[in-house]
Amino acid sequence: MSVVVGYVPTPEGEAALEHAIREVTQRGTRLVVVNTSRGDALVDQRYAQPDQVKVLEDRLDAAGLEHLLLHSIRGREAAEEILEAAAEHRADLIVVGLRRRTPVGKLLMGSTAQRVLLDALCPVLAVKA
């Protein structure tokens, strides 16, 4: 059993991570952190860079949790990666961050949170920053 969290280096992502850490501490399970990018644009501000990864790892180590960081660029949507991680690690909870989106932005880019909410097989905790 585990808790899967979709992490991005933004206030929403940090909020999601914080709640995920709290849930894992209560449940005594494993934390799976997913940070991913499709990698087809030259720049993706939501993909953690090496220094950010180090900060993240240090933080998880300090919390003394059993954790796993899935940090990959495989050309797939973040929602797919999160759902796959959830299936693979038999998640009993998925945590995602929510942010305001304009209708046009959502139309063009889609919404990761929405897809996770609709397609997840376990409860989803949606956190606002």
């Binding site: 499709r38 087809d40 644009a41 030259l42 720049v43 993706d44 495989r74």
Partner: protein, 528 residues
Amino acid sequence: MDVWGSLLDGFATAATPANLVYALVGVLLGTAVGVLPGLGPAMTVALLLPVTYALEPTSAFIMFAGIYYGGMYGGSTTSILLNTPGESSSVVTAIEGNKMAKAGRASQALATAAIGSFVAGTIGTALLVLFAPVVVGFAVSLGSPSYFAIMILALLAVTAVLGSSRVRGFSSLGLGLAIGLVGMDYTTGQPRLTFGVPLLADGLDVVVVAVAIFAVGEALWVAAHLRRTASQIIPVGKPWMGKDDWKRSWRPWLRGTAYGFPFGALPAGGAEIPTFLSYVTEKRLSRRPEEFGHGAIEGVAGPEAANNASAAGTLVPMLSLGLPTNATAAVMLAAFTGYGIQPGPLLFDREPELVWALIASLFIGNALLLLINLPLAPAWARLLQIPRPYLYAGILFFATLGAYSVNLQSFDLVILLTLGLLGFAMRRFGLPVLPLVIGLILGPRAEEQLRKSLQLSSGNISGLWSEPVAVVVYVVVALILAWPLVARVVRRRPATDASALAAIVHPTSDGRTDADPSTTPERSEARR
């Protein structure tokens, strides 16, 4: 004075509201393609050519000039914030610029790049105003044999001086010349290289060829080699410079301009060599050489000025002789022909309004670029977040539309795809694109001069060197061809600068210029 009177007339034409809008559109587009690695002003101008045939030539060229200068500005933003040069001319900028950004001095790096580009662009354009009429005055006295010699020089220099491999350069030149030959021979009416296809008798449209090589070839290459990456842009506030930065920047700006302009004006100029020379000079002259390699502002100011000055320099031979020395100039030259305007020394006489409006718009464009780049550089960098598949799908769409709209025949789409595959193959095998484009555009015109010279001398081949200028130029050609042998002897003595130049210029300048993204780390890694 005559020149100033004409220039003022040019400003009057360029400053009409409609033309100002075209200049603004041009600089916005130019900055955008400059920021995005892989896209360049040459590709953009080629894509826009068919669209602009409906416009007044003056308006179209004002827009092209904006794109051309804009590309030079945009490249530096990507270099500094991402360490991926947007253009080959800003490779050197990335060395110090990115270090500055990492040290938290991105604002200052962007500011010195933008202001330096403005200073160099303005001085360069002023020099263009001074020199172009002088060159024209000299050029009108030249006969066909001299022209032919100068064109041969331009073709050889572009092929042999730039680039890592002469064999590849000359293969590319040969391809360009061959493509230029397709169609009816204009003096005898014989079909050449048409393979019995009547549709080929009119020759290949330069627009279709340029779009195929630049846009389709690049899109196919990216599709085949999309290396997935996701880096972050270094966060930056509003670009600004302190007093100390100004003090350290103004001399490099001027020295960079002094390097850039003459190199741009020479055939085989390009911006790579002057930017590198400027970098080396600044490093040597700096009072704080220890800062080089850790983000020295001089190392951004000098090269950025050099690349903009060389952009201005390139326009001297293009406007006064009809000689293109880089890919964008070549495509713009093709545009002249598309509008039925004969490029060459008579351009200033026949189309004074167009030429001077173009030059005036360069001053205007430069000022606009400073205005939109200084406060907005971080916003431009957000363009890098566009997924590349979307970007290249759009480019392919425009390429197809443009190629079809030139003649409204579907046969052109076949040519587009075939030559697009050629462009892809050239990238795959490391053939530079520039010699092909220059050969394609200069080849038929060189042939015309060759025919004329031979007709004047009744077919006697000695007619080719009957003018003193022609003889001098052929000597220069011989020197260029013999240079590798000479260099091998000279290189026995190790020179640190020479090897450093080789190390840096080598991967960047294999004949590929603005339209050509080979210089991005992604590309070079893919090739290894």
